[in-house]
Symmetry: C2
Subunit: 203 residues, 2 copies
């Protein structure tokens, strides 16, 4: 088994945090996004969609998509549960994971991809207006999240889940998209500080 | 239990197809997106993110996000399995569900939202360039899907799953985004015709 990883990008970080929370070690191979190594023939043969991360299994099969890779490890080693346990918990985690991804991670990623000089070769054309409209969307979701986090410790309830990983990694990446969150979002700040203090945040 | 639904939009259709495949009947309440009923105070109290579908449980809790609602029903009634059964199957389904959503459904939805006159009030501002760059992305994924579907009957393997629902609903919706798929994608066409013939496609 081998995980194709990249230090800078937010998606591989989600998988590294997930594995660290599970206490699972997987051999890693770095792919250099700065030199567009993900578009070279060697890696395109691993993942034709040219995205990181990718998990090559011993059978030769390759799993891609961060959440799919995480779910595979959740099924192999359920403890600690990071996708919920009961039907209702699983649905709540999925709901928050998707909200975090579609309403927060996605606009932050779009703001980055469509404004950062480092993305000039990867995102053609960069659409400045999309970066501009994505930033307030991310901040609006941060406000919504702050109100939710005034009521409970984590996004989906009393325990840390993959939804927290997605939202935390997105929040951390926001500065590269020139997005800052208002100081008055104290519940969001408390939640971020708590996650930043977990050993998995350094993974 | 009550499902807030809307006839025209693709996301509620995914849930209706999923429920039809499971043979589950849920009381529905229509929300009229054309008159922006999803933004009115009544529905905002149900889902503050103002999105359809939403599932109100008897406890008063509300689940949103199509895939989260589907997963809830999968957990309550596993047969027929639409998210996979083994760890590897579950990971494969998740991978294809996410590819279908992020590489196909999303660019199709963006092309629609950023070009269709009916979306003028909902998507401010409409970014014409985003619609233009989203269309070839959707067609490129259709080509990739066609090659994959030359090797097996469904996206994630031998059986129909939620990944097929997502990709099928997206493909059907593409015409509203003025996206057409090349005639030479015969495997895609075979797969689409097979799903269109399922009773759930009329749900």
């Amino acid at each position: 088994m081998k995980l194709y990883d990249s230090a800078f990008a937010p998606n591989p970080r989600r998988v590294r945090m997930f594995l660290a929370e599970k206490g699972i070690a997987v051999p890693m191979q770095a792919v250099d996004l700065a030199s567009l190594q993900q578009k070279a023939p060697e890696f395109s043969a691993v993942n034709p969609l040219q995205r990181i991360p990718a998990l090559a299994l011993d059978s030769g099969e390759v799993l891609t998509e961060s959440v799919a890779i995480c779910r595979y490890f959740e099924e192999l080693q359920p403890a600690p549960p990071l996708f919920g346990e009961s039907a209702l918990e699983k649905a709540r985690v999925e709901m928050w994971q998707r909200r975090a991804e579609l309403e927060f991670f996605l606009p932050i990623a779009q703001a980055f991809r469509h404004s950062h000089p480092a993305m000039r070769e990867m995102e053609k054309p960069q659409i400045a207006e999309l970066a501009q409209t994505s930033r307030p969307r991310a901040v609006a979701f941060a406000r919504f999240l702050d109100a939710e986090l005034s009521q409970r410790p984590y996004l989906a309830g009393e325990t840390f889940t993959i939804a927290d990983i997605t939202a935390f990694v997105a929040a951390e990446f926001a500065r590269f998209a020139r997005i800052t969150f208002p100081d008055e979002l104290v519940h969001l700040a408390r939640w971020r500080a708590g996650i930043a203090a977990r050993p998995s945040a350094a993974a």
